[in-house]
C-alpha cells in the first residue's frame, strides 16, 4: 500500500464518523482492521478531525489490547491461556510456536507473516486447549499439530478471514 493509498483510506475511515470525540474508539478500531495496526498518520489525522489532543488518542491506543501501534502480522495467532486451556497445556503450545516461528507471545515475525498473542479466555473451555488463527478455532490441540497448522497458513493454503 502506497502512502497515498494509505492516506485516502485513513480519511475514508475517519470521515465515515461524525466529528465527535465519542467515535474515536470506533474509528481506531476500523483503522486497526484496515491496516492491521494504527499508523501514526492515522492517529494525527483522527486527532485533527475530532478536535482532540493526539496524546489523548495515543493514550487510548496504548490502553486497549485490541489496538496496536506497530504493524501486526498477516496471520494473528491467539493462544488461549484461560484456566482450562492453561491446565491443558496452553503454555506448551506457546513454547512450540516459539520453536516454530521464533517469537514470544506479543511479538511479530520479521517477515510480518505471524503475530502471536496470549489471550485470557476465548470462551471455549470445553475445547481446551484452543488456538485461534485469524478467527478460525483449532480445538483440543496437541503440540505436534502446530507445525502443520502454521505451515498451512504460511503457504497460503488457508485464506485468512479478514483479507
Amino acid at each position: 500500500m502506497t502512502d497515498q493509498e494509505q492516506a485516502s483510506k485513513i480519511s475514508e475511515i475517519i470521515e465515515a464518523y461524525p466529528a465527535d470525540q465519542r467515535f474515536a474508539l470506533a474509528a481506531m478500531q476500523d483503522m486497526q482492521h484496515a491496516f492491521n495496526y494504527i499508523p501514526e498518520e492515522g492517529l494525527s489525522a483522527l486527532a485533527a478531525y475530532l478536535g482532540c489532543a493526539e496524546a489523548q488518542l495515543y493514550s487510548m491506543a496504548t490502553f486497549y489490547k485490541a489496538l496496536s501501534l506497530t504493524p501486526k502480522g498477516d496471520h494473528i495467532v491467539k493462544i488461549c491461556n484461560g484456566t482450562a486451556c492453561h491446565l491443558r497445556g496452553a503454555m506448551n503450545l506457546a513454547t512450540e510456536l516459539k520453536r516454530n516461528l521464533g517469537i514470544d507471545p506479543g511479538e511479530t515475525t520479521e517477515d510480518g507473516t505471524f503475530s502471536v498473542e496470549l489471550v485470557n479466555c476465548l470462551g471455549s473451555c470445553a475445547l481446551a486447549p484452543v488456538m485461534l488463527v485469524d478467527g478460525t478455532y483449532h480445538n483440543k490441540l496437541r503440540v505436534d499439530q502446530i507445525p502443520g497448522i502454521i505451515e498451512s497458513y504460511a503457504n497460503g493454503e488457508v485464506v485468512s478471514a479478514h483479507d
Binding site: 489532543a53 493526539e54 496524546a55 495515543y58 490502553f63 501501534l69
Partner: protein, 251 residues
C-alpha cells in the same frame, strides 16, 4: 445563594453551602486533611491519591469517603482522625510510599504517619510518580494536550506520544509545577530549558531581564494570532502606570 447547612467536623460546627466539598469546608475551618492529588487550580479533582479519606456519618450511618470530591448534601458529622481513618490512611500511605519511594513529600508525610509493617510490599526503584494525572489535567486545561497516560496496569506512565518530543508542548512547566511529588523532571540552563525530551529557548524581559518563559509558551498565552509581549507583566504594569500618570498630569 444556595441552601446553607451546618455540619460538624471533628466535633467543630461548620457552616457550608449545600454541594460544597468536605475538604473545602474543613480547610476553611482550619481542620487539616492531608492531600496529594488535589490542586486549587482545577474545579474538578482527581480523587486519586485517596489520602484525604474521612468518615462521614449521615442518618446514623458511617462511611468512608474521599473528602476532596464528596459534596455535603445533608447535615452530617465528619471525622477526619477516627481510628478507622488513621488505620486506612496508613495503608494508603504505605502503598504510595512503595509506589513512589523517591517522592520526598510522601516520605515526609509517611514519617509523621508512622506506617510500619508493610515490608512485604515490593518497592519500585527510582520512582516518584503516583499516576494521579494532575499533569495531564494541567496540560489539557491549557489546550496544549502534549502529554497523557500511556499503557496500562503496572506499565502505566505519563508520557508524550511515541515517547518523542511533542510538537504541542510549549515548555511552560505547568505539569512539573502542579505535580505533587516532583516527578516531572526538567533541566534549565541560562538560555535553554529541556522538558519531555524537547529543548526550548528562554525569553527574558527586555526591560528588567527577568525570565518570561519559552517563546512557545508566551505565544500560546496570547493565541496564534496575538502579538507576543516583549516585557514581563511587572514591567508592563509599570509602563501602563507611567502612561496613566502622563495622561492625567495636567488634570
Amino acid at each position: 445563594m444556595s441552601e446553607m447547612l451546618t455540619i460538624t467536623i471533628d466535633g467543630k460546627e461548620c457552616t457550608c453551602e449545600k454541594g460544597e466539598y468536605i475538604y473545602d469546608v474543613a480547610r476553611r475551618n482550619n481542620i487539616p486533611i492531608p492531600v496529594l492529588c488535589r490542586s486549587d487550580a482545577f474545579a474538578d479533582h482527581r480523587a486519586c491519591c485517596r489520602i484525604c479519606i474521612v468518615e462521614v456519618e449521615e442518618r446514623g450511618r458511617r462511611k468512608v469517603v474521599t473528602s476532596c470530591v464528596y459534596p455535603v448534601s445533608q447535615e452530617c458529622a465528619v471525622y477526619t482522625k477516627s481510628e478507622k481513618i488513621l488505620e486506612e490512611r496508613a495503608v494508603i500511605f504505605a502503598l504510595l510510599a512503595h509506589r513512589a519511594p523517591d517522592a520526598k513529600r510522601i516520605a515526609e508525610m509517611n514519617a509523621s504517619m508512622g506506617s510500619d509493617g508493610f515490608d512485604r510490599l515490593v518497592t519500585i526503584d527510582n520512582e516518584k510518580c503516583i499516576l494521579c494525572g494532575l499533569c495531564v489535567q494541567a496540560c489539557d486545561s491549557l489546550g496544549t494536550g502534549a502529554i497523557s497516560t500511556v499503557l496500562r496496569g503496572t506499565e502505566k506512565k505519563v508520557d508524550t506520544p511515541y515517547d518523542r518530543p511533542s510538537e504541542f508542548c510549549v515548555g511552560c512547566l505547568s505539569c512539573a509545577n502542579v505535580c505533587p511529588t516532583g516527578a516531572i523532571e526538567y533541566a534549565q540552563t541560562d538560555t535553554t530549558r529541556t522538558i519531555w525530551n524537547r529543548e526550548f529557548d528562554l525569553v527574558f524581559c527586555e526591560k528588567c531581564g527577568n525570565l518570561m518563559g519559552t517563546p512557545e509558551s508566551i505565544q500560546h498565552a496570547v493565541g496564534a494570532q496575538g502579538e507576543a509581549p516583549r516585557v514581563c507583566d511587572e514591567c508592563r504594569k509599570r509602563e501602563l502606570a507611567d502612561e496613566m500618570m502622563q495622561t492625567y498630569r495636567y488634570v
